[in-house]
Symmetry: C2
């Protein structure tokens, strides 16, 4: 195993600062590992003999077995000594949670951590971070209580974030919305491992299909550019830059001790290295889901199929405004579809199945649409409030998606509880589902842009 592997798949873990008090970070983190992690767990706390039915040690040096990975969750002034002990113990990788380092001007204190890590050959995440979450190995240093923050299930999206709390909120949201996650890495002050090394690592990670990046700045633009360019030909990277403006940039300084770079430089770098630029924080994961769930389309010609005229109109507007193409069905396809639709349905682009469409109507029409050579991808609007549409439309979408997997299918539905239950169902089976036509079409654009970057589409 490489050094960074020990962050994500250690066989033994020490929690330095483990606690019995429910609100303490050291309690939550210990509890995360006790509940789900399969390897050995060693609580470190000089004032406890036992924590959660595990023997507690005063120091990692007292633990009789090897320790691959340690989480340090004690006040800043004690971190250096704890890290030194980790080094002596032969710990391979460490996450340092607390703040109180370069982000508040304590640069020397942070440099000493770097030195210790380098001296002992330990890899270090942090300080001033939330650390690591991995749905495959159940490494989980997120310190929000589980009852306040759910954990998502396994998936192919990995998120590198310079903001820890933002990442935590996204993991929570991902859990509620059935968005599968592979890894979340809160990189904090980057005393050792930085975003560049992490991007390269995820580029080779078989559990990662899409890399999402929230970045406020970098210490090495040239190397970041090289890493992005190297990885983006293997898998898609979606990125957002925080600190785009002078005011936002100033705020990043106290946040993660990084002076945000000029926005235009980052935009240029992203564009030239094949990175998909998210305009806002919602788009980051709107794009990531489409890229994680779907195959790349061979063209940009989108057919709209809808049971709601207004959403068909808005979808058509959005396709054109995003410079994608409206698919043109062949005469043959149109004739066949006309035969199975009521006379008042409209067959063109959009195809308006009208309000009384049931799942059979969707199925028959989608099958003809998918077979048409003029169609590269399909945008399905289905408003579930309409009385003829039943839950079995989800079966239809699953079977059509898998039968025609080279023509990506994206869904738009909006509404209350009944709709949200179905949205979660579809996310669970990797059908990307969006609450508005605009967000759905923008996600299709990201998919098409990446397909073009990878040479799958030739104009």
């Amino acid at each position: 195993m490489d050094g960074l592997d020990y962050l994500f798949k250690p066989e033994s873990v020490a929690i330095i600062g483990a606690s019995r008090e429910p609100r303490k970070f050291g309690h939550v983190i210990l509890s995360n590992f006790v509940k789900r992690f399969r390897g050995k767990v060693y609580p470190i706390n000089p004032n406890a003999k036992e924590l959660m039915n595990l023997k507690s040690y005063s120091s990692v040096l007292d633990v009789p077995d090897e320790i691959d990975f340690a989480v340090i969750v004690i006040p800043a002034e004690y971190v250096e000594n704890a890290l030194l002990e980790c080094g002596k113990k032969g710990v391979k990788a460490v996450v340092i949670i607390p703040g109180g380092f370069s982000e508040v001007g304590e640069n020397e204190r942070e440099e000493r951590l770097t030195e210790i890590a380098r001296k002992y050959g330990m890899r270090l995440i942090g300080p001033n971070c939330i650390g690591i979450f991995d749905t495959y190995s159940h490494v989980d240093t997120m310190f929000s209580p589980m009852y306040k923050q759910d954990r998502p299930f396994k998936g192919r999206i990995s998120f590198i974030s310079q903001s820890g709390a933002y990442g935590t909120a996204i993991m929570d949201k991902a859990a509620a919305e059935n968005m599968g996650i592979s890894k979340f890495i809160s990189i904090g002050n980057r005393a050792d491992v930085d975003e560049i090394e992490m991007i390269k690592y995820l580029g080779n990670d078989k559990n990662t299909g899409v890399i999402v990046l929230y970045l406020e700045g970098t210490k090495n633009g040239r190397e970041l550019f090289n890493a992005l360019r190297e990885v983006s030909v293997k898998k898609p990277i979606v990125a957002m830059k925080g600190g785009k403006t002078f005011e936002g940039s100033r705020a990043t300084l106290s946040h993660t001790a990084s002076l945000a770079g000029p926005s235009e430089i980052f935009k240029g770098m992203f564009r030239q290295s094949g990175v998909l630029l998210a305009e806002n924080s919602e788009e980051l994961f709107d794009f990531a889901r489409a890229l994680a769930y779907l195959n790349l389309p061979r063209g940009d010609r989108i057919q709209i199929v809808t049971n709601a005229g207004g959403f068909g109109v808005i979808s058509a507007d959005e396709i054109v405004e995003n410079k994608l193409s409206m698919a043109k069905l062949s005469k043959n396809t149109i004739d066949r579809i006309r035969k199975i639709l009521p006379s008042y349905a409209v067959v063109g682009n959009p195809i308006d199945l009208v309000g009384d469409a049931d799942s059979h109507r969707y199925e028959k029409v989608l099958r003809y649409v998918m077979k048409d050579k003029g169609v590269d991808a399909v945008f399905v609007v289905m408003l579930l409030q309409l009385s003829a549409l039943e839950s079995d439309v989800v079966d239809v979408l699953i079977s059509i998606s898998s039968e025609f997997e080279d023509k990506p299918l994206v869904v738009c539905t909006t509404g209350g509880e009944f709709t949200q239950v179905h949205t979660r169902m579809m996310e669970k089976v990797s059908i990307p589902t969006y609450p508005t036509p605009e967000r759905g079409i923008r996600a299709m654009k990201a998919l098409i842009d990446y397909s073009r970057y990878r040479g799958m589409i030739r104009d």
Copy 2:
């Protein structure tokens, strides 16, 4: 009462096409009225003697009492006769649900409806529409079954939509998210009442605080402009144009028989008449909520208060990119806030309360911020995953919002179930809450733009 009043507050209602089959629109609509409407309800169906324990009649002409309002929900070919009977009966207002008129080229059939309505002095909504929903009177002609589509509670937002299904989906979403609604009007083919008359009507409606408009086209641009200008000095109007592009525009023709007007003309009209233009369908109601819940600010200087650094950075970016101002706290305020925050918290704009902020810290800081003369509005980011923050922060926001009601307070929070429960709580007490900084700040911009239009802000 004016003619249109009978659409929204009739004392007696006939459902022409009432049915006992659960999936039939005539069943759902009858059931809506039986369950919630306080006036008299008359099912009209020649094949039934009784429906839902009410005596059923063959025709409105057989009903012994007066009828204010009728819903016609029978196939297109029978509508003319039913409407004629309504005229003879002296019905004041009618909603015609079915399609099969000008949107499929049956223009003469539709013109005959207009003639009958004019002859008998009846006001007509439709045909080819979903009709009317009013949370105050419980007039409800929406025909999605209640178990698939919730109904929102009373509020100040009224929605005029040229797309019926879109409106239905929004009502459902509003119910799930605790967004209060006054009225929803699906105007359909506009054989009689059009958007212009409806805008004027809502302009004088005391239950309507904000008018939301989804429009694909108009038959009379000049009058629409005059109506918008007349009403927008009384209450805010938020609008979105469907059919912005040639392709989208073509789709509107078969949708509601209206050729969408050129997008630029509409944009210019909206801008000149003080209408707030929503860039996408999410913004329509993002803006409407802020405008419905909050007082107008006296300036554009926004202070950010956050427990998550990254979201503080993104918020600052968004304020600047939307050409709003970052508030600058007085030295006095800064000194006071410094005293109550831990040393590692950052006091500027944003104020980063840092991850261990509890509701007391929010309360104390918000109180000082609200009192500062350099602050016009406050953007509060609170990530509820963080362990120190409890539900009582909702109490804090309620009390601060009401104590300083002239300085609008907008909230941003994102996450899973725990967060969503709290989002609904805040919406219920009229604190507009958004899942991303970008959407929250854009809503504040709408509020500020409208305040400027009304002359409350002088630059």
